[in-house]
Symmetry: C2
DNA sequence: TATTGTTATACTCTATAACTATA
DNA sequence: TATAGTTATAGAGTATAACAATA
């Protein structure tokens, strides 16, 4: 077909076929771009992906169980253990073993953790604002609603 | 009825705050669920994530450059090299060095690769159908359009 | 026996930089 | 000098299973 076309055009010529209508593919690309923005915004901070989110959720649910938070955020137990260890080492998180069930671990923020979340809260929320891209309010609302519907449906099993 | 609150209820009690409106978070959860469906559907096959997609795109673009396909699918060069090596070892993909630019590599499917894609095409497309979850046609169309708008906006830089 | 969390291992994907061979 | 791809190394995230302590 286009044997002698300029490189840039050939570049755009890579055909995706029904992948163009694949939710999985579109979702992946969208997520990659959002993550890219996240790293740019959080560059300079010692934050790893997921860590601030976990910190945030612990702040909202002081005393919640480690497993409950992990399941809510779809983080696997083994990964959660290491993630929490890092947050404890960083001085952000405190682990408590409740006397009534000494197998479990309750999580809460330390003073430093609270200060850290408070300090970065604005940027975190600003970031979510930036994620909206060029969506209008209506589009944004609609998009979130559709995403939620997809998620709820998918987890029904 | 239990005297104490059932674990499932406590489970659902983990509060997410503004994370509930975070595109990054919702996108991540949605993608995890879609991928879970993918693995279930493809279980039993020797397919790794991304591999069939690359196979599919090579099939649609025989002779396309390795870099062009990688950039289109947002796969990093180093990862692409290893991914293609696996596909070559599996006998699915053929690499050709064009005489006019001997730095580059052109990709195409072998006979086995063509047969493999043909064999799994239905399941692949069925999967995309399944991804639609409980969306109506209108919702699906709207969702894809919004995702595309988000992606296009995000990559404008 | 079942559950909560830990440890250990391995694999996928990503990030980065140094390298080659071409151009 | 720049580009296409490779190699090597490191890290994040995930999957899995074996394990300890507790229920």
């Amino acid at each position: 077909m286009n044997r002698h076309v300029a490189p840039e055009v050939v570049e755009a010529d890579v055909e995706l076929g029904e992948l163009n209508a694949s939710l999985g593919f579109l979702l992946r690309v969208a997520q990659l771009q959002i993550f890219e923005q996240f790293f740019e915004a959080m560059s300079g901070e010692s934050l790893k992906p997921g860590e601030f989110t976990v910190l945030w959720v612990i702040g909202l649910n002081p005393g919640a169980g480690q497993g409950a938070i992990a399941r809510r955020l779809m983080i696997k137990p083994a990964h959660m253990t290491k993630l929490i260890q890092r947050l404890v080492e960083a001085g952000h998180v405190e682990r408590t073993v409740p006397p009534d069930d000494r197998r479990s671990v309750q999580l809460s923020l330390t003073k430093e953790g609270l200060a850290f979340v408070a300090k970065h809260k604005d940027r975190f929320l600003q970031l979510h604002e930036a994620e909206r891209g060029s969506f209008t309010d209506t589009e944004y609302t609609r998009f979130v609603a559709l995403l939620r519907k997809l998620i709820v449906t998918g987890s029904e099993r």
